[in-house]
């Protein structure tokens, strides 16, 4: 596969390490009353769609960016690649 890195252009996917669903960015609030079950859901439950999935790839053999790649799990087509950091900010993680 080829991942079009927002900063570095198209790179072979073998330069990257895969982690999984980009929902891992949305770490629950540990102070919430429901934290115990929120964290179980966060850490263990997955939508696992047979279609488009936003997922985390780490450019280990490159600039060490975490990327959010929107990829179709059936066709492997990639529609969008973003810096995970930007996505994290957009999810309100900058506080």
């Amino acid at each position: 596969m080829i991942i079009n890195h927002p900063l570095l252009g198209p790179r072979d996917s073998s330069e990257f390490v895969y982690m999984g669903d980009a929902s891992l960015i949305e770490r629950p609030d540990p102070e919430a009353e429901t934290a115990a079950s929120d964290f179980v859901e966060y850490a263990y439950l997955r939508d696992n769609p047979a279609s488009w999935l936003r997922e985390l790839w780490f450019h280990e053999g490159g600039d060490r960016s975490w990327l959010v790649v929107t990829r179709n799990t059936v066709t492997h087509e990639i529609s969008q690649v973003e810096m995970a950091r930007d996505v994290a900010r957009s999810k309100g993680r900058s506080k």
Partner: protein, 979 residues
């Protein structure tokens, strides 16, 4: 002249002769020959035996779709089983042997299977061999297994090298027949970067096998001119002998270039083959088509082949399979073969055409509306029986028979992703359809364009459409509309072969249908149709057609045949490339590796690193002697250990402390500058991930260490936390594992030794530089260094780091300066012994299932802050009352062995899983304790000090009585490290 079947002409170099050996007999051929063409020229039709019935077989085809003519090529370690004689280029000195036969290909004992074929029908083995039960493995299976396989491995290491490479292009053209050549011309002339790959050693595809004209000249001349023009273009790369094996995601293609297979041995320094990964913006598949055989009774005898293959042998290689040949056809193409053979002086015994309206000929007899009903000739065809249109029978004497059942487009690569081919009812064939791999389009016969002109035109257009360029001028060529009707099998045929290699006949398909194995997948799996080395290139369609007939359905309703990579089988060596032997993985060496080697160190693989395991000295005959000495000398005076391989991560920025506080489960926010703290990192699931230290060199600067094994994963995790969870924190990370050489200097004289090399302005006395202190310093007169007062051994100890390029020099300096203290270098074994003596956890304890609680560090987990893993670490299952706790064990009898991996049982309990109390993680001989000791996880271990238990290891047949102790065997109060 032994080449009894050699004709005039052809594209072989008669000026040179190659001597070669087949089954021990010498033959001659010419450059340009394949092994199959040379054998045919020499009058050899019989080349192998089939898999199941050991039927005598000759080539069915003249290409890579060959199911029959498989030989073992070359000898010794280069022996290459199952090589297709039809694609093996002849070279001088070639040797080949027939396979799957004993004692010889002409007289094969196992041919008895053929006589017993009624008992060996499809799937017979699923229904028998079940009684008595032990007989399957003891009696039946060994017999079946002995019969398995075709060729044999040499059992020796492959002596050849393989390479890998990467190529990029605007347009990858797969196949250099008329459409591929025309596409390359168009794209090449437009200045595009083009790769034109073809599996054959000569470019031209079918044009090499035909008597055709293009643009008024012979097709061969046009081909030669075109190839010459393409060769002259710097933007066009011609890759003959290169098979595109697979279409992978996003326009990536695998290609195998056979660099040296046409040579006796590869030239010095050259690989046998190269695996290319080709990144193609666009791809044009011009893979041509494969002729379809016809299923009739005994259609597998040597001498029976595809008519188009015959044409190739006669036109291209000037080799005829026989001097008297018949053709069995259902379409006009068979007549083309007859005409070509006739023109070359081969006697055409008859053309048997299934159609009532067959074209007639003045040159030979045409039997219209006729069918071949049977054939004869045990080791080679002698005559065929023909059922004539009027129902009567006659025999036609012939030593070869060409079959022509129409053509199937080579759609294989279009199916490598999600593509399913579409049914073309005009051609009665599957053509590319559905969603093709990204960037791929198809031209020529592969698209069902079966005329030469059509192929040229669609090649030019295919390139133009793909690249947005204009088409090159397309020359005139043969443009007769293709006529092919579906004719798959002769009615009533039973032992009529579909898959010749695996011996799947019409009868087997009938049986599969009868037993309910009716979908394509069931049919293939039950009968093994299409599972042979040719992957059903000539057989799948026939099987499908018969199943459709039996089911009373149209072919596309029964299913489609799809294809997986590789297009043709690939040497495993080529896929591995150079990553084998000592090059299997890169080897990481520390800066003082050369020094350690000079000292005679024994090295051990730690991940990709090589580390000194121990340093034997004269007189030591057992590793324990060396290790015990290293431990003793370190504890008595001073030892030095290379710990460069530990992961080192520089953490800088105003939020660095805040960041580490999030990462480690214990607090870091208030760590003072100039101090080091042990840190335990949890995964988000609350399990210990790794441990190490973090040293605060400045308010905004920490140096974090990780274990050797986890350096990569921890760094990745830290970047995840930084970028994904704390995107705006002011913190930067960089791995500096390779930037610093680091040494542990341990033992009561460690300070004295270091004082000799640390520059005098730095006070490292216990008062100025106490336990867990750290500082940037200089050594040896101004060399920058980092000094950490941390101890893994339990002794007074330091770790000193210098830039990598000074590692070797520092080690030598430490050894020289330490002479007066009798300094000893110690390796990973002694390191391990001392850490076990101290009860420090390492990889065996941090095994990915243990918690801080298990490790006896439960109280370290700060409840006052949030860090990764704290929430989930509180789950009940991780905090049960009888949770495993890290303790020590030692044998009651000092002489007995503690086995790492042994399990612990209470003194009087039964020995079984239900009574398992825990297990030993690490074990070593402790010179200090005077016996072996171990670290163990034991249920409620911390409450069982002094308990006598049994350490059992049924695997290594040992049972030892042990006592549960503290994990801290040496200096439990920690006085030594604070000294």
């Amino acid at each position: 002249m032994s080449q009894v079947n050699r004709l005039d002409g052809g594209q072989i170099d008669r000026a040179a002769s190659f001597k070669f050996k087949f089954d021990g007999k010498d033959f001659f051929g010419h450059p340009g020959d394949t092994l199959a063409s040379a054998l045919l020229a020499n009058g050899v039709r019989l080349m192998g035996r089939s898999f199941k019935y050991h039927r005598p077989r000759g080539p069915l085809t003249a290409g890579s779709e060959e199911p029959n003519a498989l030989v073992t090529l070359r000898d010794g370690a280069r022996a290459e089983p199952n090589t297709r004689a039809t694609t093996a280029e002849l070279f001088h000195g070639l040797t080949a042997r027939s396979q799957n036969c004993w004692p010889s290909v002409k007289f094969d004992m196992m041919a008895v299977n053929d006589a017993a074929s009624d008992f060996l029908a499809a799937g017979f083995y699923y229904k028998t061999f079940m009684w008595p039960a032990p007989f399957w493995e003891k009696v039946y299976e060994p017999i079946i297994r002995r019969a398995a396989g075709l060729g044999a491995l040499s059992m020796k290491e492959d002596p050849d090298e393989y390479d890998k490479g990467f190529r990029h292009c605007d347009l990858l053209i797969i196949g250099a027949g008329p459409s591929g050549l025309m596409a390359a011309l168009s794209a090449g002339r437009a200045g595009k970067e083009v790769i034109l790959a073809d599996e054959d050693f000569a470019l031209g595809g079918r044009l090499l096998s035909e008597r055709l004209e293009i643009g008024g000249a012979s097709a061969l001349d046009w081909t030669a001119q075109t190839v010459a023009e393409l060769s002259s273009m710097p933007n066009v790369r011609l890759m003959p002998r290169t098979t595109i094996i697979g279409a992978f995601d996003h326009g990536i293609y695998g290609a195998v270039e056979r660099v040296s297979d046409h040579l006796a041995v590869p030239a010095k320094g050259k690989p046998r083959q190269i695996l290319w990964r080709i990144y193609a913006d666009k791809t044009l598949l011009c893979a041509g088509a494969t002729e379809r055989p016809i299923a009739f009774e005994n259609n597998d005898r040597p001498g029976i082949m595809l008519a188009s293959a015959m044409r190739s042998y006669v036109n291209r290689w000037a080799a005829t399979p026989a001097h008297r040949v018949a053709i069995f056809t259902s379409c006009d193409d068979g007549h083309r073969t007859a005409a070509d053979l006739h023109a070359k002086g081969v006697k055409i015994a008859a053309v048997i055409d299934t159609r009532a309206q067959a074209p007639q000929s003045f040159d030979y007899e045409v039997l219209a509306g006729a069918e071949v009903s049977n054939t004869k000739g045990r080791l080679g065809l002698t005559f065929v029986e023909v059922k004539l249109a009027d129902g009567s029978s006659r025999t036609v004497e012939c030593s070869a028979l060409g079959m022509s059942g129409g053509w199937n487009p080579n759609v294989h690569l279009t199916c490598h992703q999600r593509g399913r081919p579409a049914w073309d009812s005009v051609l009665s064939a599957f053509v590319p359809g559905g969603s093709l791999p990204q960037g791929m389009s198809v031209a020529g016969a592969a698209m069902g364009d079966f005329t030469t002109h059509g192929a040229l035109l669609s090649g030019a257009k295919g390139a133009a459409d793909a690249l947005g360029i204009k088409t090159a001028d397309v020359p005139m060529a043969e443009d007769a509309p293709p006529k092919q009707a579906a004719f798959w099998f002769v009615e009533g045929a039973k032992r009529a072969w579909l898959d010749q290699q695996n011996d799947v006949t019409v009868k087997d398909v009938v049986l599969a249908h009868q037993e309910g194995f009716r979908s394509v997948e069931h049919l293939k799996r039950y009968t093994t149709l299409g599972m042979a080395t040719d992957q059903g290139k000539t057989s799948n369609m026939g099987g499908l057609a018969i199943m459709a007939e039996l089911a009373g359905k149209a072919i596309p309703e029964v299913g489609t045949t799809i294809f997986r990579p590789p297009y043709t089988p690939v040497a495993i060596g080529a896929l591995a490339g150079r990553m084998r032997g000592m090059e299997f993985h890169p080897t990481r060496l520390t800066p003082s590796h050369v020094w350690a080697k000079e000292r005679g160190a024994v090295f051990v693989e730690v991940g990709n690193w090589l580390r000194a395991q121990w340093f034997p000295i004269a007189g030591e005959t057992h590793w324990r002697q060396s290790v015990d000495r290293e431990v003793a000398q370190t504890r008595a005076s001073v030892g030095v250990c290379d710990c460069t391989t530990l992961g080192k991560i520089d953490v800088q920025g105003a939020d660095a402390a805040h960041f580490l506080n999030k990462l480690y489960c214990n607090p870091f926010a208030k760590l003072a500058v100039g101090k080091v703290r042990y840190g335990l990192m949890l995964r988000e699931d609350g399990i210990a991930m790794d441990d190490g230290t973090a040293a605060r060199l400045a308010e905004d600067h920490f140096v974090v260490t990780t274990t050797t094994a986890k350096a990569g994963p921890v760094y990745q995790h830290m970047e995840f936390v930084r970028q994904c969870l704390m995107p705006d924190a002011d913190v930067q990370l960089i791995s500096t594992t390779e930037a610093w050489a680091q040494y542990a200097v341990a033992g009561p004289n460690s300070r004295a030794l270091l004082q000799k090399i640390v520059d005098p302005e730095f006070d490292i006395s216990n008062e100025a530089f106490e336990f867990m202190a750290c500082a940037n310093i200089t050594v040896c007169g101004g060399l920058r260094a980092r000094l950490f007062r941390i101890s893994f051994s339990g002794e007074m100890a330091f770790e000193i780091a210098v830039p990598s390029r000074y590692g070797d020099a520092l080690m030598r300096r430490l050894m020289a300066a330490g002479e007066e203290f009798d300094v000893v270098p110690y390796g990973t074994e002694a390191l391990g012994v001392m850490r076990i003596e101290k009860g420090h956890a390492a990889g065996n304890e941090l095994n990915g299932t243990t918690t801080a609680n298990n490790l006896g560090m439960g109280r370290m987990v700060s409840k006052k802050k949030d860090s990764i893993g704290t929430v989930l670490s509180e789950r009940a299952g991780l905090n049960e009352e009888d949770a495993l706790k890290l303790v020590g064990v030692k044998p009651l009898n000092r002489a007995e062995k503690i086995t790492a991996g042994g399990h612990l049982m209470a003194a009087a309990s039964p020995v079984d899983a239900a009574h398992d109390q825990g297990y030993v993680t690490s074990a070593a001989y402790s010179p200090e304790v005077g016996s072996m000791i171990g670290l163990a996880f034991i249920k409620s271990g911390d409450a069982r000090m002094g308990e006598k238990m049994r350490l059992v290891s049924p695997l290594t047949k040992s049972e030892v009585e042990v006592e549960v102790t503290s994990a801290h065997f040496v200096d439990p109060e920690g006085g030594r490290q604070r000294a």
